[in-house]
Symmetry: C2
Protein backbone atom coordinates (compact mmCIF):
# COMPACT_ATOMS: atom_id res chain seq x y z
CA UNK A 1 0.00 0.00 0.00
CA UNK A 2 1.37 3.26 -1.29
CA UNK A 3 2.91 5.33 1.50
CA UNK A 4 4.10 2.46 3.68
CA UNK A 5 6.87 1.90 1.12
CA UNK A 6 8.01 5.46 1.82
CA UNK A 7 7.38 5.21 5.57
CA UNK A 8 9.54 2.08 5.73
CA UNK A 9 12.43 3.98 4.16
CA UNK A 10 11.91 6.94 6.50
CA UNK A 11 11.94 4.60 9.50
CA UNK A 12 15.04 2.77 8.34
CA UNK A 13 17.02 6.00 7.97
CA UNK A 14 15.29 7.73 10.91
CA UNK A 15 14.96 10.71 8.64
CA UNK A 16 11.69 12.21 7.32
CA UNK A 17 13.44 14.34 4.68
CA UNK A 18 12.99 14.47 0.93
CA UNK A 19 15.66 16.30 -1.04
CA UNK A 20 14.38 18.41 -3.90
CA UNK A 21 16.36 18.12 -7.13
CA UNK A 22 15.58 21.56 -8.55
CA UNK A 23 18.78 22.30 -10.41
CA UNK A 24 18.72 25.42 -12.48
CA UNK A 25 21.73 25.45 -14.79
CA UNK A 26 23.46 28.03 -12.59
CA UNK A 27 23.13 25.76 -9.53
CA UNK A 28 25.43 23.17 -11.13
CA UNK A 29 29.00 23.53 -9.84
CA UNK A 30 31.13 25.22 -12.54
CA UNK A 31 33.55 22.30 -12.91
CA UNK A 32 30.68 19.98 -13.89
CA UNK A 33 28.91 22.50 -16.11
CA UNK A 34 32.01 23.48 -18.05
CA UNK A 35 33.10 19.88 -18.54
CA UNK A 36 30.00 19.45 -20.73
CA UNK A 37 30.07 22.93 -22.28
CA UNK A 38 33.64 22.24 -23.39
CA UNK A 39 32.43 19.05 -25.05
CA UNK A 40 29.09 20.18 -26.50
CA UNK A 41 29.11 23.97 -26.45
CA UNK A 42 26.56 26.20 -24.74
CA UNK A 43 23.66 23.94 -25.67
CA UNK A 44 20.68 22.28 -24.01
CA UNK A 45 22.50 18.96 -24.58
CA UNK A 46 25.43 20.15 -22.46
CA UNK A 47 23.13 21.62 -19.78
CA UNK A 48 21.05 18.42 -19.60
CA UNK A 49 24.12 16.24 -19.12
CA UNK A 50 25.50 18.63 -16.52
CA UNK A 51 22.25 18.65 -14.54
CA UNK A 52 22.07 14.85 -14.73
CA UNK A 53 25.67 14.49 -13.57
CA UNK A 54 25.06 16.90 -10.66
CA UNK A 55 21.78 15.20 -9.62
CA UNK A 56 23.35 11.74 -9.73
CA UNK A 57 26.29 13.01 -7.71
CA UNK A 58 23.86 14.36 -5.11
CA UNK A 59 22.07 11.00 -5.07
CA UNK A 60 25.39 9.23 -4.48
CA UNK A 61 26.20 11.56 -1.61
CA UNK A 62 22.79 11.28 0.05
CA UNK A 63 21.38 7.81 -0.69
CA UNK A 64 22.38 6.26 2.63
CA UNK A 65 21.00 9.09 4.79
CA UNK A 66 17.79 10.28 3.08
CA UNK A 67 14.79 8.15 2.09
CA UNK A 68 13.54 10.12 -0.92
CA UNK A 69 14.28 12.66 -3.63
CA UNK A 70 11.90 15.00 -5.41
CA UNK A 71 12.97 16.05 -8.91
CA UNK A 72 11.07 19.16 -10.04
CA UNK A 73 9.93 18.68 -13.66
CA UNK A 74 10.24 22.38 -14.56
CA UNK A 75 14.03 22.33 -14.28
CA UNK A 76 14.20 19.51 -16.80
CA UNK A 77 11.45 20.80 -19.11
CA UNK A 78 13.27 24.11 -19.48
CA UNK A 79 16.03 22.07 -21.15
CA UNK A 80 13.65 20.57 -23.73
CA UNK A 81 13.50 16.90 -24.65
CA UNK A 82 17.13 16.39 -23.68
CA UNK A 83 16.26 17.59 -20.21
CA UNK A 84 13.37 15.11 -20.10
CA UNK A 85 15.78 12.34 -21.07
CA UNK A 86 18.02 13.41 -18.19
CA UNK A 87 14.98 13.34 -15.88
CA UNK A 88 14.15 9.76 -16.88
CA UNK A 89 17.72 8.76 -16.13
CA UNK A 90 17.84 10.62 -12.79
CA UNK A 91 14.62 8.88 -11.71
CA UNK A 92 15.98 5.47 -12.73
CA UNK A 93 19.27 6.14 -10.97
CA UNK A 94 17.62 7.28 -7.73
CA UNK A 95 15.37 4.21 -7.67
CA UNK A 96 18.35 1.94 -8.33
CA UNK A 97 19.90 3.43 -5.18
CA UNK A 98 16.81 2.54 -3.15
CA UNK A 99 15.40 6.06 -2.97
CA UNK A 100 11.68 6.80 -3.17
CA UNK A 101 11.12 9.18 -6.10
CA UNK A 102 8.46 11.88 -5.88
CA UNK A 103 8.13 13.51 -9.32
CA UNK A 104 7.10 17.10 -8.61
CA UNK A 105 4.90 17.69 -11.64
CA UNK A 106 1.77 19.34 -10.14
CA UNK A 107 -0.34 18.10 -13.05
CA UNK A 108 -4.11 18.45 -13.13
CA UNK A 109 -6.35 17.90 -16.15
CA UNK A 110 -9.63 16.27 -17.26
CA UNK A 111 -10.10 12.52 -16.98
CA UNK A 112 -8.72 11.22 -20.28
CA UNK A 113 -5.72 13.52 -20.02
CA UNK A 114 -5.14 12.67 -16.35
CA UNK A 115 -5.08 9.01 -17.40
CA UNK A 116 -2.29 9.76 -19.88
CA UNK A 117 -0.34 11.63 -17.18
CA UNK A 118 -0.75 8.73 -14.79
CA UNK A 119 0.46 6.25 -17.42
CA UNK A 120 3.45 8.44 -18.19
CA UNK A 121 4.58 9.12 -14.62
CA UNK A 122 3.41 6.16 -12.51
CA UNK A 123 2.15 3.47 -14.88
CA UNK A 124 2.72 2.13 -18.35
CA UNK A 125 1.72 3.33 -21.83
CA UNK A 126 0.39 0.68 -24.18
CA UNK A 127 2.03 0.48 -27.61
CA UNK A 128 0.34 -2.33 -29.51
CA UNK A 129 0.32 -5.13 -26.92
CA UNK A 130 3.38 -3.91 -25.00
CA UNK A 131 3.20 -1.86 -21.80
CA UNK A 132 6.08 0.64 -21.85
CA UNK A 133 7.44 2.63 -18.90
CA UNK A 134 8.09 6.34 -19.48
CA UNK A 135 9.12 8.34 -16.39
CA UNK A 136 8.43 5.59 -13.85
CA UNK A 137 8.37 7.52 -10.57
CA UNK A 138 6.99 6.22 -7.25
CA UNK A 139 4.83 9.23 -6.54
CA UNK A 140 3.66 12.47 -8.15
CA UNK A 141 2.30 15.82 -7.01
CA UNK A 142 -1.10 16.86 -8.41
CA UNK A 143 -3.32 19.95 -8.63
CA UNK A 144 -7.02 19.47 -7.85
CA UNK A 145 -8.45 22.76 -9.16
CA UNK A 146 -10.47 20.79 -11.75
CA UNK A 147 -11.92 18.45 -9.11
CA UNK A 148 -12.03 14.67 -8.87
CA UNK A 149 -11.72 14.21 -12.67
CA UNK A 150 -8.10 15.36 -12.32
CA UNK A 151 -7.22 13.01 -9.45
CA UNK A 152 -9.21 9.79 -9.67
CA UNK A 153 -7.56 8.45 -12.86
CA UNK A 154 -4.30 8.23 -10.86
CA UNK A 155 -5.87 5.91 -8.28
CA UNK A 156 -5.76 2.97 -10.70
CA UNK A 157 -1.97 3.07 -11.03
CA UNK A 158 -1.61 3.99 -7.35
CA UNK A 159 -3.55 0.89 -6.30
CA UNK A 160 -2.33 -1.59 -8.88
CA UNK A 161 1.31 -0.58 -8.86
CA UNK A 162 1.78 0.44 -5.22
CA UNK A 163 2.35 4.12 -6.03
CA UNK A 164 1.19 7.31 -4.32
CA UNK A 165 0.38 10.97 -4.97
CA UNK A 166 0.21 14.26 -3.10
CA UNK A 167 -2.49 16.81 -3.99
CA UNK A 168 -1.78 20.53 -3.45
CA UNK A 169 -3.75 21.64 -0.43
CA UNK A 170 -2.12 24.61 1.35
CA UNK A 171 1.11 25.64 -0.34
CA UNK A 172 4.09 27.45 1.19
CA UNK A 173 4.38 30.39 -1.21
CA UNK A 174 3.31 33.94 -0.17
CA UNK A 175 0.46 34.25 -2.71
CA UNK A 176 -1.13 30.92 -1.72
CA UNK A 177 -3.64 32.95 0.34
CA UNK A 178 -5.17 34.56 -2.75
CA UNK A 179 -7.25 31.50 -3.59
CA UNK A 180 -6.53 28.88 -0.94
CA UNK A 181 -7.56 31.04 2.03
CA UNK A 182 -10.91 32.19 0.65
CA UNK A 183 -13.78 31.50 3.02
CA UNK A 184 -16.26 29.01 1.55
CA UNK A 185 -19.15 28.40 3.94
CA UNK A 186 -17.68 27.18 7.22
CA UNK A 187 -14.41 26.19 5.62
CA UNK A 188 -11.51 27.72 3.73
CA UNK A 189 -10.74 26.63 0.16
CA UNK A 190 -7.68 24.68 1.31
CA UNK A 191 -9.79 22.88 3.95
CA UNK A 192 -12.28 21.93 1.24
CA UNK A 193 -9.40 20.62 -0.85
CA UNK A 194 -8.08 18.68 2.14
CA UNK A 195 -11.50 17.12 2.74
CA UNK A 196 -11.70 16.18 -0.95
CA UNK A 197 -8.26 14.57 -0.79
CA UNK A 198 -9.35 12.50 2.21
CA UNK A 199 -12.50 11.41 0.38
CA UNK A 200 -10.70 10.65 -2.91
CA UNK A 201 -8.18 8.58 -0.95
CA UNK A 202 -10.82 5.94 -0.24
CA UNK A 203 -10.98 3.61 2.75
CA UNK A 204 -7.95 1.36 2.42
CA UNK A 205 -5.28 2.46 4.84
CA UNK A 206 -1.72 1.16 4.77
CA UNK A 207 0.14 -0.58 7.61
CA UNK A 208 0.84 2.77 9.24
CA UNK A 209 -2.78 3.95 8.97
CA UNK A 210 -2.46 6.25 5.96
CA UNK A 211 -4.41 6.54 2.71
CA UNK A 212 -2.61 6.28 -0.66
CA UNK A 213 -3.42 9.91 -1.51
CA UNK A 214 -1.52 12.58 0.42
CA UNK A 215 -1.62 16.36 0.65
CA UNK A 216 0.92 19.14 0.17
CA UNK A 217 0.88 21.33 3.28
CA UNK A 218 3.45 24.13 3.40
CA UNK A 219 5.82 24.60 6.36
CA UNK A 220 5.26 28.31 6.65
CA UNK A 221 2.16 28.33 8.89
CA UNK A 222 2.43 26.00 11.93
CA UNK A 223 -1.16 26.70 13.00
CA UNK A 224 -2.39 25.52 9.60
CA UNK A 225 -0.27 22.36 9.78
CA UNK A 226 -1.67 21.62 13.24
CA UNK A 227 -5.25 22.16 12.12
CA UNK A 228 -4.88 20.00 9.00
CA UNK A 229 -3.07 17.20 10.86
CA UNK A 230 -6.03 17.00 13.25
CA UNK A 231 -8.64 17.21 10.49
CA UNK A 232 -6.94 14.85 7.99
CA UNK A 233 -5.67 12.25 10.44
CA UNK A 234 -5.10 9.53 7.82
CA UNK A 235 -3.65 11.74 5.08
CA UNK A 236 0.13 11.69 4.54
CA UNK A 237 1.69 15.17 4.23
CA UNK A 238 4.42 16.46 1.96
CA UNK A 239 5.73 19.59 3.67
CA UNK A 240 7.66 22.05 1.47
CA UNK A 241 9.03 25.40 2.61
CA UNK A 242 11.68 24.19 5.08
CA UNK A 243 14.96 26.13 5.16
CA UNK A 244 15.24 28.72 2.39
CA UNK A 245 11.51 29.50 2.49
CA UNK A 246 11.54 30.00 6.28
CA UNK A 247 10.06 26.84 7.87
CA UNK A 248 11.87 25.36 10.91
CA UNK A 249 11.88 21.96 12.61
CA UNK A 250 9.81 23.45 15.43
CA UNK A 251 7.18 24.47 12.86
CA UNK A 252 6.96 21.23 10.92
CA UNK A 253 6.76 18.85 13.90
CA UNK A 254 2.98 19.33 13.91
CA UNK A 255 2.76 17.57 10.54
CA UNK A 256 3.69 14.27 12.22
CA UNK A 257 1.49 11.98 14.27
CA UNK A 258 2.37 10.91 17.82
CA UNK A 259 4.52 8.07 16.47
CA UNK A 260 6.53 10.47 14.31
CA UNK A 261 4.89 9.25 11.13
CA UNK A 262 2.65 10.54 8.36
CA UNK A 263 4.78 13.30 6.88
CA UNK A 264 7.93 14.04 4.92
CA UNK A 265 9.65 17.43 4.85
CA UNK A 266 11.22 18.80 1.68
CA UNK A 267 14.34 20.90 1.38
CA UNK A 268 15.77 21.81 -2.00
CA UNK A 269 18.12 24.71 -2.31
CA UNK A 270 19.55 24.51 1.23
CA UNK A 271 20.95 21.05 0.41
CA UNK A 272 21.49 21.20 -3.35
CA UNK A 273 23.24 24.59 -3.24
CA UNK A 274 25.06 24.10 0.08
CA UNK A 275 28.31 24.20 -1.94
CA UNK A 276 27.74 27.89 -2.70
CA UNK A 277 28.44 28.74 0.95
CA UNK A 278 31.67 26.81 1.57
CA UNK A 279 33.96 28.89 -0.64
CA UNK A 280 35.33 25.95 -2.61
CA UNK A 281 33.60 26.75 -5.91
CA UNK A 282 31.56 23.55 -5.85
CA UNK A 283 34.37 21.03 -5.73
CA UNK A 284 32.98 19.87 -2.38
CA UNK A 285 29.33 19.86 -3.51
CA UNK A 286 28.77 16.30 -2.35
CA UNK A 287 30.27 16.79 1.09
CA UNK A 288 28.45 20.12 1.45
CA UNK A 289 25.09 18.57 0.49
CA UNK A 290 25.64 15.66 2.86
CA UNK A 291 26.54 17.95 5.74
CA UNK A 292 23.44 20.09 5.10
CA UNK A 293 21.22 16.98 4.90
CA UNK A 294 22.68 15.63 8.14
CA UNK A 295 22.14 18.98 9.83
CA UNK A 296 18.50 19.03 8.71
CA UNK A 297 17.98 15.43 9.79
CA UNK A 298 19.43 16.17 13.21
CA UNK A 299 17.27 19.30 13.60
CA UNK A 300 14.16 17.27 12.75
CA UNK A 301 15.19 14.51 15.16
CA UNK A 302 15.26 17.01 18.01
CA UNK A 303 11.51 17.44 17.61
CA UNK A 304 10.35 14.21 16.00
CA UNK A 305 10.96 10.67 17.21
CA UNK A 306 10.14 8.14 14.51
CA UNK A 307 8.80 4.87 15.90
Amino acid sequence: MAFDVLQDKIKEKKNPTVVGLDARVEFVPPAILYRYINLYGETLAAASLAVMDFDCGLIDALADIVPAVKPQAAYFECLGWQGMKALEQVIDYARSKGLYVIADIKRGDIGSTATAYSEGWLGRTKVGCTACAAFNADCVTLNGYMGSDAIKPFLKDITERDKSAFVLCKTSNPSSVELQDLVAGDRLVYTVMGDLVKRWGGRNKDRYGYLPLGAVVGATAPSVIKELRYRLDDVFFLVPGYGTQGGTAADVRYAFDELGRGAIVNASRSIMCAWQKTGHNGEDYQAAARAAAEKMRDELRRYITIL
Copy 2:
Protein backbone atom coordinates in the same frame (compact mmCIF):
# COMPACT_ATOMS: atom_id res chain seq x y z
CA MET B 1 0.89 42.44 -28.13
CA ALA B 2 0.07 38.85 -27.29
CA PHE B 3 -3.42 37.90 -28.43
CA ASP B 4 -3.61 40.21 -31.45
CA VAL B 5 -1.20 37.82 -33.20
CA LEU B 6 -3.80 35.10 -32.68
CA GLN B 7 -6.75 37.37 -33.46
CA ASP B 8 -5.12 38.36 -36.77
CA LYS B 9 -4.93 34.70 -37.76
CA ILE B 10 -8.54 34.08 -36.67
CA LYS B 11 -9.67 37.07 -38.73
CA GLU B 12 -7.69 36.02 -41.79
CA LYS B 13 -9.26 32.54 -41.79
CA LYS B 14 -12.63 33.72 -40.47
CA ASN B 15 -12.44 30.81 -38.08
CA PRO B 16 -12.16 31.03 -34.26
CA THR B 17 -11.21 27.35 -33.88
CA VAL B 18 -8.19 25.75 -32.25
CA VAL B 19 -7.63 22.08 -33.00
CA GLY B 20 -6.45 20.01 -30.05
CA LEU B 21 -3.64 17.59 -30.82
CA ASP B 22 -4.41 15.03 -28.11
CA ALA B 23 -3.32 11.84 -29.82
CA ARG B 24 -3.37 8.78 -27.64
CA VAL B 25 -1.51 5.97 -29.40
CA GLU B 26 -4.82 4.28 -30.30
CA PHE B 27 -6.05 7.45 -32.06
CA VAL B 28 -3.28 7.15 -34.67
CA PRO B 29 -4.58 5.49 -37.87
CA PRO B 30 -3.32 1.89 -37.98
CA ALA B 31 -1.38 2.32 -41.24
CA ILE B 32 0.76 5.04 -39.65
CA LEU B 33 1.18 3.30 -36.30
CA TYR B 34 2.20 -0.05 -37.79
CA ARG B 35 4.63 1.57 -40.22
CA TYR B 36 6.71 2.57 -37.18
CA ILE B 37 6.01 -0.54 -35.11
CA ASN B 38 7.29 -2.63 -38.03
CA LEU B 39 10.46 -0.55 -38.02
CA TYR B 40 11.07 -0.11 -34.28
CA GLY B 41 8.87 -2.68 -32.53
CA GLU B 42 6.22 -1.94 -29.90
CA THR B 43 8.31 0.80 -28.29
CA LEU B 44 7.90 4.38 -27.13
CA ALA B 45 10.22 5.33 -30.00
CA ALA B 46 7.77 3.88 -32.53
CA ALA B 47 4.76 5.44 -30.79
CA SER B 48 6.43 8.86 -30.63
CA LEU B 49 7.25 8.84 -34.33
CA ALA B 50 3.73 7.64 -35.17
CA VAL B 51 2.12 10.42 -33.10
CA MET B 52 4.42 13.00 -34.67
CA ASP B 53 3.64 11.75 -38.19
CA PHE B 54 -0.11 11.83 -37.47
CA ASP B 55 0.01 15.32 -35.89
CA CYS B 56 2.07 16.74 -38.77
CA GLY B 57 -0.38 15.15 -41.24
CA LEU B 58 -3.25 16.85 -39.41
CA ILE B 59 -1.37 20.15 -39.52
CA ASP B 60 -0.87 19.77 -43.28
CA ALA B 61 -4.58 19.06 -43.75
CA LEU B 62 -5.75 21.97 -41.58
CA ALA B 63 -3.17 24.76 -41.82
CA ASP B 64 -5.03 26.81 -44.40
CA ILE B 65 -8.41 26.70 -42.63
CA VAL B 66 -7.65 26.90 -38.88
CA PRO B 67 -5.59 29.56 -37.10
CA ALA B 68 -4.22 27.52 -34.20
CA VAL B 69 -3.42 24.10 -32.77
CA LYS B 70 -3.26 23.04 -29.13
CA PRO B 71 -0.99 20.07 -28.43
CA GLN B 72 -1.79 18.50 -25.06
CA ALA B 73 1.47 17.76 -23.21
CA ALA B 74 0.12 14.65 -21.44
CA TYR B 75 -0.11 12.67 -24.68
CA PHE B 76 3.56 13.31 -25.36
CA GLU B 77 4.76 12.91 -21.75
CA CYS B 78 3.19 9.46 -21.57
CA LEU B 79 5.70 8.50 -24.29
CA GLY B 80 8.68 9.65 -22.21
CA TRP B 81 11.53 11.78 -23.54
CA GLN B 82 10.99 10.54 -27.07
CA GLY B 83 7.43 11.85 -26.87
CA MET B 84 8.77 15.21 -25.70
CA LYS B 85 11.12 15.27 -28.68
CA ALA B 86 8.12 14.63 -30.93
CA LEU B 87 6.28 17.49 -29.18
CA GLU B 88 9.14 19.92 -29.87
CA GLN B 89 9.06 18.93 -33.52
CA VAL B 90 5.25 19.17 -33.79
CA ILE B 91 5.37 22.68 -32.29
CA ASP B 92 8.12 23.75 -34.70
CA TYR B 93 6.26 22.26 -37.66
CA ALA B 94 2.98 23.95 -36.77
CA ARG B 95 4.68 27.31 -36.37
CA SER B 96 6.47 26.86 -39.69
CA LYS B 97 3.03 26.45 -41.27
CA GLY B 98 1.89 29.76 -39.77
CA LEU B 99 -0.24 28.26 -37.00
CA TYR B 100 -0.47 29.76 -33.51
CA VAL B 101 0.60 27.09 -31.02
CA ILE B 102 -1.08 26.86 -27.61
CA ALA B 103 0.83 24.32 -25.51
CA ASP B 104 -1.78 22.82 -23.19
CA ILE B 105 0.41 22.23 -20.15
CA LYS B 106 -1.72 23.59 -17.26
CA ARG B 107 1.40 24.25 -15.20
CA GLY B 108 1.29 26.10 -11.89
CA ASP B 109 4.10 26.33 -9.35
CA ILE B 110 5.97 28.76 -7.08
CA GLY B 111 7.87 31.71 -8.53
CA SER B 112 11.31 30.24 -9.25
CA THR B 113 9.77 27.11 -10.73
CA ALA B 114 7.23 29.08 -12.76
CA THR B 115 10.16 31.05 -14.20
CA ALA B 116 11.75 27.79 -15.37
CA TYR B 117 8.45 26.68 -16.94
CA SER B 118 8.13 30.02 -18.72
CA GLU B 119 11.67 29.78 -20.04
CA GLY B 120 11.05 26.24 -21.25
CA TRP B 121 7.71 26.82 -22.98
CA LEU B 122 7.67 30.48 -24.07
CA GLY B 123 11.14 31.89 -23.55
CA ARG B 124 14.76 30.85 -23.56
CA THR B 125 16.96 28.97 -21.09
CA LYS B 126 20.40 30.44 -20.48
CA VAL B 127 23.32 28.00 -20.86
CA GLY B 128 26.48 29.98 -20.18
CA CYS B 129 25.96 33.11 -22.30
CA THR B 130 23.66 31.45 -24.86
CA ALA B 131 19.85 31.68 -24.76
CA CYS B 132 18.46 28.31 -25.94
CA ALA B 133 14.89 27.58 -27.05
CA ALA B 134 13.26 24.44 -25.67
CA PHE B 135 9.57 23.96 -26.53
CA ASN B 136 9.06 27.41 -28.04
CA ALA B 137 5.25 27.67 -28.13
CA ASP B 138 3.26 30.89 -28.65
CA CYS B 139 0.99 30.41 -25.66
CA VAL B 140 0.50 28.11 -22.67
CA THR B 141 -2.32 27.14 -20.33
CA LEU B 142 -1.74 27.71 -16.60
CA ASN B 143 -3.28 26.77 -13.25
CA GLY B 144 -3.62 29.55 -10.67
CA TYR B 145 -4.39 27.51 -7.52
CA MET B 146 -1.12 28.76 -5.96
CA GLY B 147 -1.95 32.40 -6.70
CA SER B 148 -0.02 35.14 -8.46
CA ASP B 149 3.37 33.49 -7.75
CA ALA B 150 2.41 30.84 -10.31
CA ILE B 151 1.36 33.28 -13.04
CA LYS B 152 3.37 36.49 -12.84
CA PRO B 153 6.75 34.95 -13.84
CA PHE B 154 5.21 34.20 -17.25
CA LEU B 155 4.40 37.88 -17.86
CA LYS B 156 8.06 38.66 -18.58
CA ASP B 157 8.23 36.31 -21.56
CA ILE B 158 4.68 37.21 -22.58
CA THR B 159 5.57 40.90 -22.76
CA GLU B 160 9.09 40.68 -24.10
CA ARG B 161 8.48 37.94 -26.65
CA ASP B 162 4.91 38.70 -27.71
CA LYS B 163 3.48 35.50 -26.20
CA SER B 164 0.28 34.80 -24.26
CA ALA B 165 -1.25 32.47 -21.67
CA PHE B 166 -4.65 31.21 -20.56
CA VAL B 167 -5.33 30.60 -16.85
CA LEU B 168 -7.88 27.94 -15.86
CA CYS B 169 -10.98 29.72 -14.66
CA LYS B 170 -14.14 27.63 -15.16
CA THR B 171 -13.36 24.30 -16.82
CA SER B 172 -15.67 22.11 -18.90
CA ASN B 173 -15.37 18.82 -16.99
CA PRO B 174 -18.20 17.53 -14.78
CA SER B 175 -16.27 17.72 -11.49
CA SER B 176 -15.19 21.33 -12.04
CA VAL B 177 -18.01 22.35 -9.67
CA GLU B 178 -16.35 20.68 -6.67
CA LEU B 179 -13.91 23.52 -6.14
CA GLN B 180 -14.64 26.13 -8.80
CA ASP B 181 -18.29 26.65 -7.87
CA LEU B 182 -17.77 27.13 -4.13
CA VAL B 183 -19.31 30.33 -2.83
CA ALA B 184 -16.67 32.72 -1.49
CA GLY B 185 -18.28 35.87 -0.14
CA ASP B 186 -20.31 37.45 -2.96
CA ARG B 187 -18.45 35.51 -5.63
CA LEU B 188 -17.77 31.94 -6.71
CA VAL B 189 -14.22 30.56 -6.73
CA TYR B 190 -14.11 30.71 -10.54
CA THR B 191 -15.24 34.35 -10.46
CA VAL B 192 -12.46 35.13 -8.00
CA MET B 193 -10.02 33.41 -10.35
CA GLY B 194 -11.40 35.38 -13.29
CA ASP B 195 -10.98 38.65 -11.39
CA LEU B 196 -7.41 37.65 -10.50
CA VAL B 197 -6.66 36.89 -14.16
CA LYS B 198 -7.94 40.31 -15.18
CA ARG B 199 -5.80 41.96 -12.51
CA TRP B 200 -2.67 39.93 -13.32
CA GLY B 201 -3.13 40.80 -17.00
CA GLY B 202 -2.20 44.42 -16.27
CA ARG B 203 -3.34 47.51 -18.16
CA ASN B 204 -1.83 47.17 -21.61
CA LYS B 205 -4.47 46.04 -24.08
CA ASP B 206 -3.71 44.89 -27.60
CA ARG B 207 -5.07 46.35 -30.85
CA TYR B 208 -8.32 44.45 -30.36
CA GLY B 209 -8.74 45.58 -26.73
CA TYR B 210 -7.56 42.42 -24.97
CA LEU B 211 -5.03 41.80 -22.20
CA PRO B 212 -2.13 39.36 -22.76
CA LEU B 213 -3.47 36.98 -20.11
CA GLY B 214 -6.58 34.99 -21.04
CA ALA B 215 -8.91 32.60 -19.24
CA VAL B 216 -10.10 29.05 -19.87
CA VAL B 217 -13.91 29.06 -19.78
CA GLY B 218 -15.62 25.76 -20.62
CA ALA B 219 -18.34 25.51 -23.28
CA THR B 220 -20.67 23.44 -21.16
CA ALA B 221 -22.50 26.24 -19.31
CA PRO B 222 -23.67 29.10 -21.57
CA SER B 223 -24.92 31.16 -18.63
CA VAL B 224 -21.45 31.05 -17.10
CA ILE B 225 -19.83 32.08 -20.39
CA LYS B 226 -22.26 34.99 -20.68
CA GLU B 227 -21.60 36.12 -17.10
CA LEU B 228 -17.81 35.91 -17.45
CA ARG B 229 -17.78 37.65 -20.84
CA TYR B 230 -19.60 40.58 -19.24
CA ARG B 231 -17.43 40.63 -16.13
CA LEU B 232 -14.07 40.11 -17.87
CA ASP B 233 -14.62 42.28 -20.90
CA ASP B 234 -10.94 42.57 -21.83
CA VAL B 235 -9.93 38.95 -21.13
CA PHE B 236 -9.48 36.61 -24.10
CA PHE B 237 -11.22 33.22 -23.65
CA LEU B 238 -10.10 29.73 -24.58
CA VAL B 239 -13.28 27.67 -24.73
CA PRO B 240 -12.88 23.89 -24.47
CA GLY B 241 -15.73 21.39 -24.39
CA TYR B 242 -17.09 21.88 -27.92
CA GLY B 243 -18.28 18.75 -29.73
CA THR B 244 -17.47 15.53 -27.89
CA GLN B 245 -17.96 17.16 -24.47
CA GLY B 246 -21.37 18.58 -25.45
CA GLY B 247 -20.88 22.30 -26.20
CA THR B 248 -22.55 23.73 -29.34
CA ALA B 249 -22.05 26.82 -31.49
CA ALA B 250 -25.19 28.31 -29.96
CA ASP B 251 -23.61 27.88 -26.50
CA VAL B 252 -20.19 29.29 -27.25
CA ARG B 253 -21.29 32.41 -29.13
CA TYR B 254 -21.54 34.22 -25.79
CA ALA B 255 -17.77 33.95 -25.38
CA PHE B 256 -17.31 36.46 -28.22
CA ASP B 257 -17.69 40.22 -28.12
CA GLU B 258 -20.02 42.11 -30.46
CA LEU B 259 -17.32 42.19 -33.14
CA GLY B 260 -16.92 38.41 -33.00
CA ARG B 261 -13.58 38.68 -31.23
CA GLY B 262 -12.00 37.76 -27.91
CA ALA B 263 -12.36 33.98 -27.91
CA ILE B 264 -11.20 30.78 -29.53
CA VAL B 265 -13.06 27.48 -29.34
CA ASN B 266 -11.24 24.17 -29.01
CA ALA B 267 -12.22 20.84 -30.51
CA SER B 268 -9.97 17.83 -30.21
CA ARG B 269 -11.37 14.39 -30.70
CA SER B 270 -14.18 15.39 -33.07
CA ILE B 271 -11.56 16.56 -35.60
CA MET B 272 -8.55 14.36 -34.79
CA CYS B 273 -10.57 11.15 -34.67
CA ALA B 274 -13.04 12.02 -37.43
CA TRP B 275 -11.45 9.16 -39.46
CA GLN B 276 -12.91 6.62 -37.00
CA LYS B 277 -16.40 7.36 -38.32
CA THR B 278 -15.84 7.14 -42.08
CA GLY B 279 -15.24 3.39 -42.31
CA HIS B 280 -11.94 3.67 -44.21
CA ASN B 281 -9.67 2.57 -41.37
CA GLY B 282 -7.90 5.91 -41.21
CA GLU B 283 -6.60 6.09 -44.75
CA ASP B 284 -8.69 9.23 -45.19
CA TYR B 285 -7.72 10.79 -41.84
CA GLN B 286 -6.65 14.06 -43.41
CA ALA B 287 -9.79 14.51 -45.49
CA ALA B 288 -11.95 13.45 -42.55
CA ALA B 289 -10.27 15.94 -40.19
CA ARG B 290 -10.55 18.71 -42.76
CA ALA B 291 -14.24 18.00 -43.32
CA ALA B 292 -14.88 18.00 -39.56
CA ALA B 293 -12.96 21.26 -39.12
CA GLU B 294 -14.88 22.89 -41.98
CA LYS B 295 -18.15 21.72 -40.49
CA MET B 296 -17.23 23.22 -37.12
CA ARG B 297 -16.09 26.47 -38.72
CA ASP B 298 -19.34 26.74 -40.62
CA GLU B 299 -21.41 26.03 -37.50
CA LEU B 300 -19.54 28.76 -35.61
CA ARG B 301 -19.98 31.18 -38.52
CA ARG B 302 -23.73 30.79 -38.29
CA TYR B 303 -23.60 32.43 -34.88
CA ILE B 304 -20.44 34.52 -34.94
CA THR B 305 -19.44 37.14 -37.48
CA ILE B 306 -15.78 38.04 -37.14
CA LEU B 307 -15.07 41.66 -38.00
